[in-house]
């Protein structure tokens, strides 16, 4: 426990210390151009946050579902000691289900027109 604390303190301390060194010792010549948004050399133009890359949103839905299932399997494998054949069968079935779902919707996901 002490080691973790030492690690966190030293690591974070070193990171912050370097920034402080920069803050204190680096030259500072602020100007309006330096401090504004990068817009390829032009003046900042238009608001930033806009529509997400909507075409690929299906993957995000998929990941929320599949990741939860895989996470469950992970927890089950790690907590079920000693090995239980039924558990492995369940994992196999789960993965098969995942594969089927992904295969079923892979074409839809790839088809950019359906998402835009």
């Amino acid at each position: 426990m002490v080691a973790i604390l030492i690690f966190v303190v030293v690591f974070l301390g070193a990171l912050v210390a370097l920034v402080v060194v920069t803050f204190l010792f680096a030259p500072r010549r602020p100007s309006e151009i330096k401090e504004r948004r990068f817009e390829s050399g032009g003046p900042p133009y238009g608001p930033v946050q806009r529509r997400l890359l909507m075409q690929y949103f299906g993957y995000i839905y998929l990941v929320t579902v599949v990741e939860a299932a895989v996470g469950l399997a992970l927890v089950a494998v790690l907590t079920a000691q000693p090995s239980a054949p039924m558990l492995y069968l369940a994992i196999a079935l789960l993965l098969a289900a995942v594969l089927i779902v992904v295969l079923r919707y892979f074409k839809v996901l790839n088809d950019i027109r359906r998402w835009s």
Binding site: S40, G41, G46, R50, R51
Partner: protein, 407 residues
Amino acid sequence: MQRTEWPFNLEVGNTFFVESEEELRGGRRGLTLVVGPQHPGSGHMRLFVVLDGDMIVDVVPDPGFVHRGIEKLAENRPYWTVLPLVEKASIMDSMNIMYPLVLALEKALGLEPPPRAKYLRTIMAELTRIRTHLYDMALLGIFLGHSTAFMWGFALMDLYAEVFAKITGTRTTIAYPVPGGVRRDVKPEHVEAIRRLLEVSRRKLKDFKTLFLDNPVTRARLEGVGTLDVKRVTELGVVGPFARASGVDYDVRKIHPYDAYSEVDFEVVTEKAGDAWARTWVRWREIHVSMSIVEQLLKNLPGGDVIDEALLFKNPEYRREGVGGVLGVYTYMYPEPGEYMAVTEATRGATLVHLWTTGTQRIYRMRFVTPSWRNLHAMVEAMKGHRLADMPAVYMSFGYFPPEADR
């Protein structure tokens, strides 16, 4: 919209602006990326890229950042000083880009280069063509993220630069041809250097092909991207290898052969697909065609003078290697009044020079049409409807070179 921040006059018809920021199809809001001029993927130009999610809805190019007014400058100075000026439009392609002006001036001055000079010019033109193709290929590599293709392309270009330096005295802007001949004769060791150069680059290009062009990731990035069919390409007036990639069988070298091109045997490389990959592949094959042209010319290189005898009338005894000592003769020569035109096939497409002369040493008007400018519109059209990541791929598959387009 925060219009006050924008430096341009946003009224319609005044200058560039992005009108449809807020109005994409279905009333959705798009994102306008301003790519360039201070952007690693723009070159000396600016592209307003309107994005709908990841898809490019519209691209508005804003060229002109490196406009030098070559056409206007050409009107204010003696004709021989225009040569090194025109060359600066596309320094990689320096021989090809000044070729039409040299041909047009030859017509105006009534000069006829001896056969050896014609061969030497054509050899240099093909060598610069290889170098420019390598340059475009290298930049395509770095635009796709392939740093090795970039470094290898530039390393090979440097070998060409070395041979140019040995023959003409400088690496890039060679200013080699003059009306009536070339400025320096080649010695046997230079011919040997060119032969070795071709051999070395053939060997090295094998690895280049394996690592870059045969790379499945490169293929995945280029195939089916930015497709323009024959009809579209002809409508947009695309020239050069980019038109040939769509199946347009047009090459000035074949159709209106100039200098030594009528005496060599070469094929006009065409592809059918018209996508970014075809445009890359055409240029790759053209490198090899150019190599074979250079080899044929070297084999049949005639002897004799490298400048027209007419240039030597004033002081024939002062001749050092090549044209040295006689370039001042141009100050005694006056072009015949009239219009002269020459078209040549530069690396990126047909280049045209149209001269109006009135009998003085100043050119009355020079029209200078460069291939990159003609390909710009097609490049922008090819980007539309593709993903943002395809923008650099399409950009460099057209080999767009802003200084050449802006002139």
